[in-house]
């Protein structure tokens, strides 16, 4: 397994304009959904981005998928900025990066047969002969545990878990290097979650594919990820290998996030850190460290200076004034 990154993200920013007015729209502010995010994903590994809703993790995924144009920064695949690609080069990038979305009920076209849904990434690329498409579709379907006879059915004839399997098969069929998993199991029943997670882990080993996992569920993250980045209000506050992060969380926000998760056994006593206040609006984020209004350890400098990332242990990076 090589250690070359399949994807590098540098200084990625996405600011959405907030407009006012009916005919002459005036920009009155900017939602800083993603504000300077750096990470890289190595081949065959999983990077998870965790954080509460509204922290910018889905926007990050959309930027990587070229569904949104970044306001600043770049996403590099094979050393090329993917947002500058066009035509054939863009189509080739599309085959190397696929996605599985959260809601299996809205992520499959209700008017297409399973076979066509799975084959779509190959068909639109226009480079594959029909025979090969057919073989690959069959192979992908059997690998996710769907029967060959099911290829002619429509999505409404499947349950949620099976729909997610169809989505996974469709993501795999073009043999991508990277699959973005945007909350892949959070819409599923608890009993189905483990199945889909195991499937994804198995497929990762078979295909040597990388995952960018977007999640808010910590157990999912812990099970699937090699590395975890914690996001808060558009910035990554802490990033570390999974075991290191769960064993030794450093950032006060990470600690609070972990303490909010239920322990694995009800008898285990654990101290819950309750944060004061609400998540501030990303339209006017707090000055300095964005977490300072809610941080139990905030110092005077936290509201003034933006904390700089500091590597505390191998691969364990934290952006907090407590450690500088």
């Amino acid at each position: 397994m090589s250690a070359t990154p399949v994807l590098q993200v540098r200084g990625l920013k996405k600011h959405f304009p907030v407009t006012k007015g009916f005919l002459w729209k005036k920009v009155v502010g900017w939602v800083q959904a993603v504000d300077g995010v750096d990470f890289s994903i190595r081949q065959g590994k999983t990077l998870a981005i965790v954080g509460e809703s509204g922290c910018g993790k889905t926007t990050t995924a959309k930027l990587v998928l070229c569904l949104e144009q970044p306001s600043a920064g770049e996403v590099l695949a094979d050393g090329k900025n993917v947002h500058a690609l066009a035509g054939d080069a863009l189509r080739d990038y599309r085959t190397t990066v696929q996605a599985v979305f959260q809601d299996p009920w809205s992520s499959l076209n209700p008017r297409m047969r399973v076979r066509d849904i799975v084959a779509e990434p190959l068909v639109v690329n226009r480079k594959f002969p029909e025979r090969e498409i057919e073989e690959r579709v069959e192979d992908a379907m059997s690998r996710v545990g769907l029967r060959r006879q099911q290829a002619n059915l429509y999505p409404h004839e499947f349950s949620g878990g099976q729909r997610q399997r169809i989505a996974v098969a469709s993501a795999l069929v073009s043999k991508p290097k990277l699959i973005i998993l945007d909350e892949p199991v959070s819409a599923l029943d608890v009993s189905i979650r483990a199945q889909i997670m195991n499937l994804l882990v198995d497929l990762q080993q078979q295909y040597d594919v990388s995952y960018l996992l977007i999640a808010h569920h910590l157990a999912t993250t812990r099970y699937m990820a090699n590395e975890v980045a914690v996001m808060y209000l558009g910035k990554i506050v802490e990033k570390a290998p999974t075991r290191e992060l769960f064993g030794n969380p450093l950032h006060p926000y990470t600690k609070a996030l972990f303490s909010a998760a239920l322990p694995s056994h009800p008898d285990i006593t654990h101290e819950e850190i309750i944060l004061k206040g609400e998540v501030p609006s990303p339209i006017n984020p707090p000055s300095g460290c964005r977490f300072h209004p809610r941080c139990p350890f905030a110092k005077a400098e936290c509201s003034v200076a933006v904390p700089i990332e500091k590597e505390m242990a191998a691969g364990h990076v934290v952006a907090c004034h407590l450690y500088s």
Binding site: K62, L65, C66, L67, L90, R91, R94, T95, V97, Q98, A99, F101, Q102, D103, S106, S107, L108, N109, P110, R111, M112, E120, P121, V124, N125, A167, S170, S174, I180
Partner: protein
């Protein structure tokens, strides 16, 4: 005290009437039967079904009343008009004209409206604004006035009437399709299609269009009735099809000055229009309820 008395029931809520109506609404068979027997079959087989040539009159038989009135004859069951032309035959041939005109107009108008609506809803922004303003203009124009102006400018003919109808019809399709496209394009399967690398044209054709087809069918069915009425009104005003054409609107218009003395000349084509529109509306309602429950407030 009987329990029933506390509930206020409308006087017409006789059980067998309301139940009958509910059952009737559930099955479009009645509507379909009217349509087939009154409109489609006679129109298709007009030369064999019609008892007389719709263009040939005989002045000796002019203004014959229908068969059940004094002076009526079995030769002309629904009577004849002032030129002695058989009214039943003209209604049968008129169904051909009305059907052809309305189907062509709806088909072409529907295609134009659907394509513009898809583009408008999918791309949004500036394209959307331009197309939607065009729709607003089109819907704001007074129908009859526009038709009169156009016909006055070009002259009455088959082509003119169809063009006028298309200009009047496309906007509704554009607006309907745009609304649906706006909702559908936010769904994850569109995002997945883009991630897969599908082009905009492919997304519109393979992903958006199949998901709006139901609504389109419903709208088209409901519009057949509307178009027949519109075409009849135009013909009645003299701005529609040429005078000699056996169109229903033309026939109603022909009988206008005779309504007191020879009511049948305009009454029977009027009844034909009414039954057809009623049948198509019932069919459209039924399709709306059964194809797409999201569309109940169309």
């Amino acid at each position: 005290m009987p329990l029933q008395s506390t509930r206020t029931m409308p006087w017409y809520a006789i059980p067998w009437v309301t139940e009958g109506w509910a059952r009737f609404k559930r099955y479009p068979l009645f509507a379909l039967a009217i349509l087939l027997f009154l409109l489609v079959i006679p129109a298709v087989f007009a030369p064999w079904v019609a008892p007389h040539d719709p263009f040939m009159g005989s002045l000796s038989h002019r203004l014959t009343p229908p068969v059940w009135q004094d002076g009526g004859s079995m030769g002309h069951i629904l009577g004849t008009d002032k030129l002695g032309r058989d009214i039943l035959s003209r209604i049968i041939y008129g169904a051909r004209v009305s059907l052809t005109v309305s189907l062509i107009a709806i088909f072409v108008g529907g295609i134009i409206g659907t394509v513009l609506g898809l583009i408008s809803g999918y791309f949004g922004g500036w394209t959307d604004s331009v197309i939607m303003r065009l729709v607003d203009i089109s819907l704001a124009l007074p129908t009859i006035l526009l038709a009169l102006v156009l016909v006055a400018a070009v002259g009455p003919s088959f082509g003119t009437v169809i063009t006028v109808l298309i200009v009047l019809l496309w906007a509704r399709y554009a607006r309907l399709v745009r609304g649906e496209a706006l909702a559908i394009k936010e769904l994850d399967f569109i995002a997945r299609a883009r991630v897969a690398g599908a082009s905009h044209a492919r997304i519109m054709y393979r992903y958006l269009f199949p998901n709006v087809v139901n609504s389109l069918i419903v709208l088209a069915t409901l519009q057949v009735g509307y178009v027949i009425l519109l075409e009849s009104s135009l013909s009645f005003l003299g701005a529609g099809l040429p005078r000699a054409e056996p169109a229903w609107g033309v026939m109603v218009s022909d009988g206008r000055e005779l309504i007191v003395t020879s009511w049948w000349v305009s009454m029977f084509p009027g009844i034909a229009i009414m039954l057809t529109v009623l049948a198509l509306n019932l069919l459209g309602d039924w399709l709306r309820d059964h194809l797409d429950p999201k569309l109940r407030n169309l």
